[in-house]
């Protein structure tokens, strides 16, 4: 039997990691990313949408933001303040930002580390989306979870079977984060 194939497989990931390192060192246009993010910030400040806000972190790095969503009325999250973090890649907006819930949240499409399952933050990301449209999508996700692909299966089940119990879980998990 010939194992040469297995040997190539064995070495492949290492070579690939090296490639990845190489590509991350490619020419990136930070100026364009900065320009775009500044325009978004301006837009958010001039015409704020109700229930959402976002601002770059205090460290002067425009590539990481903190955002808040107010839980929409008539949902289990009504009145709750939810904090999120945005990390923008060097080729934003041609790759999606990494968005995490910082506030502990009980939701079918969010896991216990705050990671979010939302198609527009992954393969359906488009360069016309921005911070504001992502926050609005997340806000509507709070009231309309996608129970077909849950990250938190128990939450998905409860959402369908027992809304009162679901809300108890939401409130039990929620903790207001202090401003840092």
């Amino acid at each position: 039997m010939d194992y040469s194939m297995e040997d190539t497989q064995n070495s492949a990931p290492e070579a690939q990691q090296a490639n990845k390192l190489h590509t991350s060192g490619q020419k990136t246009d930070t100026q364009s990313v900065t320009k775009r993010l500044q325009a978004e910030l301006m837009q958010l400040m001039l015409s704020p949408s109700p229930g959402i806000s976002a601002f770059p972190d205090a460290d002067g790095n425009l590539l990481s933001w903190t955002a808040t969503i107010t839980g929409p009325t008539e949902t289990p999250y009504e009145g709750l303040i939810l904090k999120l973090s945005f990390e923008f890649p060097n080729n934003y907006p041609y790759s999606p930002p990494t968005v995490l819930f910082k506030t502990p949240i009980y939701h079918p499409n969010v896991d216990f580390s705050g990671r979010i399952c939302l198609d527009i933050l992954k393969d359906k990301w488009s360069a016309v989306y921005n911070v504001s449209s992502v926050l609005l999508s997340l806000q509507s996700l709070l009231g309309e979870p996608n129970n077909a692909s849950p990250l938190n299966a128990q939450a998905a089940e409860l959402w369908d079977s027992d809304q009162a119990e679901f809300k108890r879980h939401v409130l039990a998990r929620h903790q207001d984060l202090d401003d840092e």
Binding site: E6, S11, S126
Partner: protein, 485 residues
């Protein structure tokens, strides 16, 4: 067997049996190899990682490691090689890619290399179709070298912005994309004024990831808006509601263009420039040439973007230029002849493979041997289509150094009974087999003549020479009753 020397062989089934003196080891290896096999790809990273270099660890990957490998596996993307947009290169490279593939594809790509001698390869990163059309658009503009036309295009591209507004995009969003397109148009304008020699500046611009992405996004959002504003034209071709189609197939970065998207891109963005867009489909359908399809209502002309479509991928093609014929000179008379049965019956040709070592001998054979001019019925009466030239392709490729073996195409040997159907033109014998075969005039076989091979120039001005049908300048002489000549 030492556990401190982990190599792949330890996991091979043969090794297990050779070294099963230690039952614990054997069990451990059997376990690890069966455990590994279904996820070999994602887990193979383990062996290159120092932590896991001791193979004893293989059985008990910690949850953290498992998670890390799962993450590696999830984010795995095949590394696509090459630039986003390549420089212009010979289409022979495409033909060589297919030389060992299905004979249909080999025949078609060989014919393609004649009709479209140059190509430009797009990186297969999901944007290739969008990038090919966008690059083709800018390059065509540059090729025309008409600054007025570029000014018109700058105005037109800006006016298309109303489409974006009508579908509710805010200018803060689309501004950077429109700017990227405008900047390239301005660069083309400047390049023409500065008398730039070639389009290398454009290739460079398209290989800058960020501006390349911005232009493609501009074309995407224009297409998306165009579809939304013309639902009646597109909805019936879509498998889903129109808005959902746009947000899942057109807008997302790196979503490949499909037929509807391509048509909409051409209708909405390219059509107004007056450029034609032609697609040549390379597939295994019947025929000897790729299937051309015109996607624009603009007729093919000098200002036509030509794309090669292979399932899932688009590249740009450049046809033979009329003004400057880049194709190697070949004797077209040879290509015109497709029926040798006449020669078999009247001349009793023989086969002499040693003579075939002389590269260009075949080209002039029917006439060079002093064959009578009269039997022309075998020649196709229609002017040869430029696509039907694959045999010559084989001929001059054979004289190229380092050429990959030409795919063996089934050939009916000439020794078959003369009444049998003549071999079709594509059935040139394979050079990789026992050498080419040809029927030669018996005179050639005579010793005194074999040293001085007949190299008669073809009767270029003969009325029987149909080669001039290939000439775009050709006009048949019309006899006029008043013409006194």
């Amino acid at each position: 067997m030492s556990l401190s020397k982990p190599t792949w062989n330890h996991f091979g089934p043969h090794q297990h049996f050779l070294e099963k003196q230690n039952p614990v080891d054997f069990y451990r290896h059997a376990l690890s190899s069966s455990f590994l096999s279904p996820v070999a790809l994602s887990l193979s990273a383990a062996f290159s990682h120092p932590i896991s270099s001791n193979s004893a660890n293989m059985n008990a990957l910690s949850a953290d490691e498992m998670e890390r490998f799962q993450k590696l596996s999830n984010t795995y993307q095949p590394e696509v090689q090459g630039p986003l947009v390549s420089t212009k290169q010979s289409s022979h490279s495409i033909a060589m890619d297919y030389s060992n593939a299905d004979p249909t594809l080999a025949t078609k790509t060989n014919a393609l290399a004649i009709t479209h001698p140059d190509c430009r390869i797009m990186k297969g990163d999901g944007n290739c179709g969008w990038r090919a059309v966008a690059f083709g658009y800018f390059e065509t503009l540059f090729t025309l070298r008409d600054t007025l036309r570029i000014e018109t295009e700058i105005r037109r591209m800006k006016s298309l912005t109303t489409l974006l507004e009508r579908v509710g995009l805010s200018d803060s969003i689309y501004e950077i994309f429109v700017d990227a397109t405008e900047e390239v148009l301005n660069r083309i304008h400047a390049a023409i004024q500065n008398g730039a020699q070639d389009e290398s500046f454009l290739v460079e611009a398209f290989n800058e990831g960020y501006s390349s992405d911005a232009i493609i996004t501009h074309f995407r959002i224009l297409t998306s808006a165009w579809i939304k504003l013309h639902p009646h034209r597109y909805q019936s071709f879509l498998p889903m509601p129109l808005d959902q189609y746009c947000s899942s197939r057109i807008d997302p970065v790196k979503s490949e263009i499909d037929e509807v998207g391509l048509q909409a891109l051409i209708d909405g963005v390219i059509e107004g420039s007056g450029f034609g867009v032609e697609i040549l489909y390379l597939d295994r359908s019947e025929g000897e040439v790729v299937t051309p399809h015109l996607l624009s209502s603009n007729r093919p002309s000098g200002a036509t973007i030509r794309l090669l479509y292979r399932p899932g991928h688009y590249d740009i093609l450049y046809p033979v230029e009329n003004t400057l014929n880049m194709a190697p000179i070949v004797n077209l008379q040879y290509g015109m002849t497709s029926d040798y049965s006449q020669w078999d019956q009247t001349l009793g040709f023989d086969v002499n493979s040693s003579l075939m070592a002389i590269p260009n001998l075949m080209q002039d054979t029917p006439y060079g041997m002093g064959a009578p001019m009269s039997p022309m019925p075998s020649v196709s009466p229609t002017p040869a289509s430029p696509f039907r030239m694959s045999p010559q392709q084989d001929m001059y490729q054979s004289s190229m150094p380092n050429h990959a073996p030409i795919p063996s195409i089934p050939v009916s040997p000439p020794q078959i009974a003369p009444s049998a159907a003549p071999p079709p033109m594509t059935s040139l014998p394979s050079r990789s087999s026992d050498g080419p075969q040809i029927r030669l005039n018996p005179l050639v076989m005579k010793p005194n003549l074999s040293r001085s091979l007949p190299v008669t120039t073809p009767f270029k001005n003969s009325p029987y020479n149909q080669a001039h049908f290939q000439n775009s300048e050709f006009e048949p002489i019309h006899w006029e009753p008043h013409d006194r000549r």
